[in-house]
Symmetry: C2
Subunit: 776 residues, 2 copies
């Protein structure tokens, strides 16, 4: 029961609300209402325990591998959220007594989770209970919780039990050695755990304080230690009408943290973290929360998008996306990137895919270019892993793994779920054959450069990525003597329902793009005489390579549209049989088609999991005209189940390009509803990070019509029928531009008076400080 | 809410019943109603999930160590018990709707767990639901479950979800690698797991069948695979008045099993276990259960004890003990022994203590001598571990570890719970200083021999144990020149609240016993010219050793009673201060005294955790007269908190010896109530194996007055006031003797006419076939 239409004017379009608690479907709100700050992610499981609950606390980058048969994953740290609340001998539970009022809500603006319950216990006494929780954006280690209990009808004795529980697992997998547990200064709890294989130390500290009607009080306290957990028991009498406030402040530090210097010394880590909790325990929840809220305010000031539309949901959806895009991004440390489920669930084990570069990076590139730069540095940081993979498969340069974690080695599992009937595991081909990611990364680096002019980054980090990706593609090309062209055989494109295909259009075009970018980059670097480039040129023998690339570039086979205007997804796709896929579209069940067809059968049908040629139309949006876009969208969309969350957003953007506004809006909503929709189980394993990036893409690059065409900014807005106004800011080559778009006008404004070349609705303009185009 | 007074005549004194389900205290019935067969132990957690539930499935001997900082423990295998029962869209739960009738009961006679619920769901429809479950005594790998649902008021759609769930942990510790999971022949589920360090393979298979009004029906079936688990979903419509029966048959095999030959070949293990489930799936639950029940009947026929008493509880308690004594004992394999919590919980990690030899072995020695022999072979099997420990500490012979598992190495944790305030771990001294176990084992072997005359066992296994234990004690003695005696310094006796003491009476007497037994054994073996003994004599250089033992035996210091008749527990005990301990006795809290006093303070007080000198009076029961027994019992009992479950039974037996019948009965009840009493949390970590042996000891050796005094059988019954009759059987030197005791008579009967010397109530008799002593 989700409500997106918060009534109070002040917080309108800032609140996701759950109005009814259904213990059968806890995963949804645990994920979509998750808290975080890029360093840590905390799933929003409720305080009191229920069957079906998943408690998750992840710290970015702290991967561990349980054994050699399993892939590395983000370990689930000790839980600090659980609270057992005993009121007059009865444990508070939404399944006991009567619930007269229930509201759980995430305040996107302030980054606070609030739950309000008017509870009547089984003997008829009423209590008003409010839970609050935040993960600090002002201090990445800090988590605050507050619980207020008002006894409405009678006196009560409250016993609270809460602590640090290191018995958490990842679905049964224990990633930690048990470590020290202690209580110090009679008020702080500390628990240490170390990952079993990566040997990362985690230290968590918690402390609990109580206030009666806002006055600090001492309760009857005891502490308990058990295997892998420690907890506090506090007892407090409460008179009718009084409000007891309980505040729990916790922190988490790891030996991987880059904001402290411990030289691998666990004792030092314990000391630093205890000093931190002691310092913070001097402040009340509200004070600590205010500091975090201030940071959120700064963020929203920078990132604010305004939408005036008939349906308030649209603005809420983009804010929801922006909220999660911030909390999922480890902007504090360039050694990490973003997992496919961010830090909100165990899905995909925290691994990094092409999702980051293609779906998420543009948001940061245009809104916080420094963060985009950091995210791309992750690919530089892990380039050795990519070189290893290339070597392993007999290629040159850098072949980026399909899934990566900390080291940059390939982390894609080799085997997926066992086919239930044969008892045999299904081979996962993505890690072996889904090569386009190596082009996607080069593409992202090149576009980052074109839109930011960040030469320092390019010279130090970006160039090496692009040159090494190009070297991979060069070695990957296969000369086809008959066709007199370079082919790329036996790959998987973005559409993962097709495997082992030759000349996947998306892959071929993107490989071509990469080699072409390398050539342009080389010429530019020579021209600009970059410092680091001189060494790089020697190290990578670029001169000869670029010469070769120049001679072969035009011989790379780029599938043209056929007579019907259709770009063949691959050499054989158009010859395969089609089936009616209506029943599989919009199914709440994951990959529903695999219940009726085997994987092998699906591979031999014209059935797409997700956009593939449409994806190509999106990434090389400036290279295809409206006719091609329409023909291919219409042909392929009919055959696409949209079983991937990456599909909807690009369909929206391309539909807008050929002026099918209703389709564009429909797919925008579809993208927004991947997490916010009514399917109660689809977010169980975590939110869909790429899809959240996609929501922003549809708004800014779709409806806002922003396009980076080879370093030239194009703005061609086409608002949905129900939207009256869209305004947002973006960074372009170091300058912040404000756009305000209505049905009638486009206004573009920037701070400096430096001239900027740009296209608005296809016409070239020179922008100094302000431009207003009326009468569109 | 436990009821021990089952009304139906036929099953009277055979049923433990829970009449109200309290989800806050699930551990009690999970433990005391556990099922098993010595090979496996299955905790009786209910089918549907609740917070606070502990699912445990252990296979004897399959120890694993998670990491070097943790001790080895019995790993918790995959769960097969969980069933989610969806009736018309609502999950069955005792927390939803109304419970009109509830009864969960363990039938001790048949080894079956039954739960009956009359449930009204939240929309007012009523269902009668019966759960049944057994662990087969006829086939050690087999577990059967049956669920019957009758729709009383309306039609219903039932969806059952159940499978094999390998996400179980030991309080957060995962002991298994994930293994293959498959469904075969469209009806059998199989899950494989391998322990991480000991590399033991587990294979579990399950299959589900449905019957409508006793006719087999096919339901709408699907199977699901997830990480570490596999499950079945079956859907079935049910008309008002119909009964749907669901049967789930499961098995478990491990690569340690001694009834199969697999040569470490996992595929072979998988095949054997699938053949097994296929074969058994041809039978209905009732048929499989009948086979198991037949075995239970045979057991009870052999082991039957009759008590006619005012309170039916007394008979139920001894049956409860006998039930658990059977299911805890790995009589199928001499490589294993009995854990302190049997196979019913994670407490003490499945480790073996002196509990087996001193508290449990007598039951088997007198009732199933072959099982006693098997249990003692475990100590022979692990003698190398004991030799290693002796070497490590600079002693000779075999020094048995305080806690052992599979290998016989010391498994006692070095550090216990951290002192919550100092943050420092408490050192555990038992593994280092509690040496009496090496005497206890020799004592048990010697007494087994004296009561069975099992010369083959003694020649092959028992002698080596006794000689090596004696060699240890010889090397352990310290000559005190001043006292001109051998002392044993710096030990812990049975009373673990006293540490680092010199000349613990129990230890000294038992060490003396061991050396004396070695001397007698040697003379006897020479005399009887045992085969194996000849080699052993050479190997262990026994001739010289025994000569030495003979010269020093009488110089071992055995503390005599002082003027007040008190045997000092150790050299300093009687000089320590006493305190009032009333508030700590019978506290439901574990080791309550340690909340008020530090461990160090307790060590320096006259405060006992458990019987120590009284324990000595029990093991050498024939060596002390009534005056000494009374004086010491009265002195020490006042100072004993009985914080150990080993304490009550021996207090009962000794009180009976000096004719304090009320105390004897009171302590019998206290022993019985350790698991059956009203403390709802004391059995959480499992039942108390030694205490269950103790219940039998109080009945047969206490009230029945059976005593083995150096190879002579004494029978000196003293029935409690409320008992009218006690009858039981026992094996003595290969013959089965039936005893029937009333207030007036003692009848002794046996099969053969071979003459047997024995003492009845202190008078010597020769028994041929029958003896009846009237007018006691």
């Amino acid at each position: 029961m989700l409500n997106y239409y918060w009534k109070e004017e002040q917080e309108k379009n800032w609140i996701l609300e759950e109005t009814y608690f259904d213990d059968r479907h806890q995963g949804k709100c645990e994920s979509i209402m998750a808290l975080g700050n890029g360093y840590l992610g905390l799933r929003s499981s409720v305080e009191e325990p229920y069957i079906g609950q998943t408690r998750n606390l992840f710290v970015a980058g702290t991967y561990n591998k349980f054994d050699e048969n399993e892939v590395t994953e983000l370990p689930n740290a000790a839980d600090i959220i659980e609270m057992l609340i005993d009121i007059n001998g009865e444990l508070f539970s939404l399944k006991n007594g009567k619930i007269h009022h229930y509201s759980r809500r995430l305040n996107l603006k302030a980054g606070e989770l609030i739950r309000e319950v008017l509870w009547e216990n089984s003997t008829g006494e009423r209590y008003h209970i409010i839970f609050r929780r935040f993960v600090s954006l002002a201090d990445m280690h800090l988590i605050g919780m507050k619980l207020e209990i008002t006894a409405l009808t009678a006196d009560a004795e409250v016993i609270l039990r809460t602590g640090i529980n290191g018995r958490q697992t990842n679905s049964g997998v224990q990633h930690f050695h048990d470590g020290d547990k202690r209580v110090y200064e009679n008020q702080f709890m500390q628990l240490v755990q170390r990952t079993t294989q990566s040997k990362i130390d985690f230290v968590l500290n918690s402390t609990v304080k109580m206030y009666m009607d806002r006055e600090k009080v001492e309760c009857k306290t005891s502490y308990f230690l058990e295997r892998r957990r420690i907890h506090f028991n506090g007892q407090m009498p409460l008179k009718k009408g009084q409000t007891l406030a309980i505040e729990k402040i916790s922190n988490i530090f790891t030996s991987l943290d880059n904001d402290i210097e411990i030289d691998g010394d666990l004792e030092e880590l314990k000391t630093i973290s205890s000093e931190h909790i002691k310092k913070n325990s001097k402040f009340a929840y509200d004070e600590l929360f205010e500091k975090s809220k201030d940071q959120w305010n700064l963020y929203w000031k920078e990132a604010m998008i305004e939408i005036q539309a008939d349906d308030d949901f649209d603005l809420l959806a983009v804010r929801f996306a922006q909220y999660h895009l911030l909390i999922m991004t480890p902007f504090h440390d360039e050694r990490f990137s973003i997992g496919a489920k961010a830090l909100t669930g165990e899905g995909y084990k925290g691994h990094v895919f092409w999702d980051t570069e293609i779906f998420i990076l543009p948001y940061f590139q245009y809104s916080f270019p420094g963060v985009a730069r950091q995210l791309l540095r992750y690919r530089f940081h892990t380039i050795e892993g990519a070189r290893n993979k290339a070597k392993k498969f007999g290629y040159e340069g850098a072949m980026y793994p399909w899934e990566t974690a900390f080291t940059g080695e390939e982390e894609t599992p080799e085997w997926a779920a066992i086919n239930i009937m044969t008892g045999k595991a299904t081979k996962v081909w993505s890690g072996l054959k889904e090569h386009h990611i190596t082009a996607d990364i080069a593409y992202a680096v090149w576009n980052y450069y074109l839109s930011t002019n960040d030469e320092v980054f390019m010279d130090l980090y970006g160039s090496e990525i692009i040159f090494e990706c190009a070297a991979f593609w060069h070695s990957r090309l296969e000369w086809n003597e008959g066709k007199h062209r370079y082919h790329i055989n036996d790959v998987i494109g973005p559409d993962e329902y097709t495997e082992h295909i030759d000349n996947n259009a998306y892959t071929n075009y993107m490989a071509h793009f990469t080699i072409k970018a390398a050539i342009e980059l080389y010429d530019s670097a020579i021209h600009k005489q970059w410092d680091n480039f001189k060494c790089l040129r020697e190290k990578l023998r670029l001169k000869e390579k670029i010469e070769t690339y120049k001679t072969l570039l035009d011989s790379i086979y780029l599938p043209d549209p056929n007579e019907a205007g259709i770009i063949p997804q691959d050499d054989t796709f158009l010859t395969k049989a089609s089936i009616n896929i209506e029943k599989y579209r919009d199914s709440h069940e994951k990959q529903r088609i695999l219940k009726d067809y085997t994987r092998e059968q699906v591979v031999n049908l014209q059935v797409l999991k997700q956009a593939d040629v449409v994806m190509l139309l999106f990434v090389l949006r400036g290279s295809f005209d409206e006719t091609v876009k329409r023909a291919n969208w219409e042909y392929y969309e009919k055959r696409t189940i949209h079983d991937s969350s990456l599909s909807a957003a690009v369909h929206s953007i391309i539909a807008n390009d050929f002026n099918e506004y209703e389709d564009a809006y429909r797919f925008f909503r579809k993208a927004a509803e991947i997490d916010l929709g009514q399917n109660p189980v689809s977010s169980n394993d975590g939110i869909h990070a790429a899809s959240l990036g996609g929501i922003w893409l549809t708004v800014v690059m779709g409806f806002g019509g922003v396009m980076n065409d080879n370093g030239i900014l194009h703005i061609h807005p086409k608002l949905p029928k129900t939207w009256r106004k869209l305004s947002f800011s973006l960074y372009w080559k170091g300058e912040r531009i404000n756009l305000s778009i209505t049905k009638e006008n486009v206004e573009v404004r920037k701070e400096s008076e430096r001239e900027m070349d740009l296209f608005i609705m296809g016409k070239r303009y020179i922008l100094f400080k302000e431009l207003k185009i009326n009468d569109r």
